[in-house]
Amino acid sequence: MTMRSRLIVAILATLLTLPSLAPAAWAQNALVVSVWGGNWKNTVESVIGKAFTAKTGVPVEFEVGGTIDRLAKARVAKGSPLVDLNFTTTHVARLYISDGLYEKLDLAKIPNAKEIAREAIRSDYHLGTWAYVYTVVYRPDLVKEEITKWSDLWKPSLKGKIAMPDFDPSHIITIAALMEGGNEVNWQKGEARLKQLKGSIAAFYSTDAQSQDLMKTGQAPVQVMLSVNAYHLQEQGIAVKLVQPTDYPGIVGIDTIGVMAGTKKSDAAHQFINVALSKEVQTELVKALRAGPVNLGASVPAGLRGQPGIFTTTAEWKERGYIMNDEARAKTLAAWREWFTATIVKK
């Protein structure tokens, strides 16, 4: 091989190697965020990730999966996490915290946290990013009678038409307890009332997709449903009505973010949270997810203002939603499910 040929080969080899090295370098530098798949990941990527990268120059990568898959992975990788930041529901975050998987947040690095609702500051380790409610949702074309309150679910006319989640029955258990003067801690007060609902339940759903299918096909036209999913159905042209219950408020769900203990990119992770909580990003999140902002200064489209799960003032957070105690919920969930399966789900 002549000198000239060797030079050409060397140049070609370098040119071929460069593109494969670039993504590796990009990936090494990237902040890795764990989040649910589908619309959740797309929104976090296009709204928060984009704004974060534009501000810091740090690329963002995602690990997607279900709530428990990601929890199991985090547990296995304890100490040297595979991701830097994690999105999960507020009560599941308690499991991360109790297992030492989250790092204590340095609020001095998250100045936007000062602008968020008190209810969104869930602990020293995790902060709320958006909110929604579990409320009554129904199809007026299939249910002639108007539903305005939780207690309407007990009407005989709705027999065989209702669906609710069986993976987490905490919402309906808490509502039944509230109706009997109790709450999620002394939930047993609502047991008898909930038993009366048994005959009205057509199906139990295990996933959001199943819930939406049951509504679309009309198999269960009345549901205890996530407000975000109901808005999504409305966007798809399914005429569902979200009830702003007049007797007891909807049960609030808060999705939260936390920094993984042991991450080498703690500063960047804190910056990501700060971006996520900014007014501008929160405004975009409301539009994309149809979930309530946690930053009280965020703008909410007129059509969504005052709707279930969209809280824009301190008073609305207090009056229009019931927030369960995270710790009580995390500790009692297994007992709730056991009782619910044995008493309500069982034939």
Partner: protein, 262 residues
Amino acid sequence: MKLLLAPAVVVLAVFAAALTALFRWSLLEFIPGSLQTGGLTLANFRGVLAPQYLDAIRDTVVLSALTTGLTLVLSYPVAYALASTPSRRVRSVLLVLTLAPFFTGAIVRTYAWVLVLGNTVVTWPLPMLFTERGVLVGLVHFSMPTMILILAAALSHIDPVYARAATSLGARPSRVFWRVTLPLSMPGIVSGCLIVFAWTLSAFPTPELLGGGKVKMIANVVKDLGLDSFNWPGAAAFAMLALVLTLTLLVGLGRLTGGRAA
């Protein structure tokens, strides 16, 4: 020769390690609201012996037995036609129809059944969706292609000379079937039944979607305990219990049929 066994030994070792880990988890104390576990305990096994969990085991065994029986009865004529038709075209059509469900995923097929069993396409005299009946239909449909292929293979191996001999001795077609063909296809029947029974014992998506949370089989309960209640030790204990039960049933069935599987 010993070297040839090495891959099998490695696979067995991996399975043994996984089962050991599962057994270890089943003996750890569950602490509600925490991923941490306590010390060694048998409480998880006592917990999963609660009536609702035993009901799930009973329902699983009953549904598996019914699925196996119905699948056999519905698959045998198709397999017989597949094995005995002289027409290559008919055989091809039957084969394509049998294999077609394999080309759609289990989830897609089950969702299709959600629409069919609900009252959106057909109005059923009895409720089908979210009942054991509906789950049974889904399980039978899921199992039929496998059963048909196993039975067809067994039937095609029967030498036609035996049937011809019986006919020439004056036996009617029905007698030929009951006294010659059916007994000779028994190894295929036993194999098919054992596979479908074992397969159905671990069914997950069909009862999950067609049962609407009201029909719980073993795999659904394991998922409920592990993924929804965060009770990993409880899920491990129930999985161990189900494993022992499954092995016992399969060994029992194997003995009952006298090792006649094809």
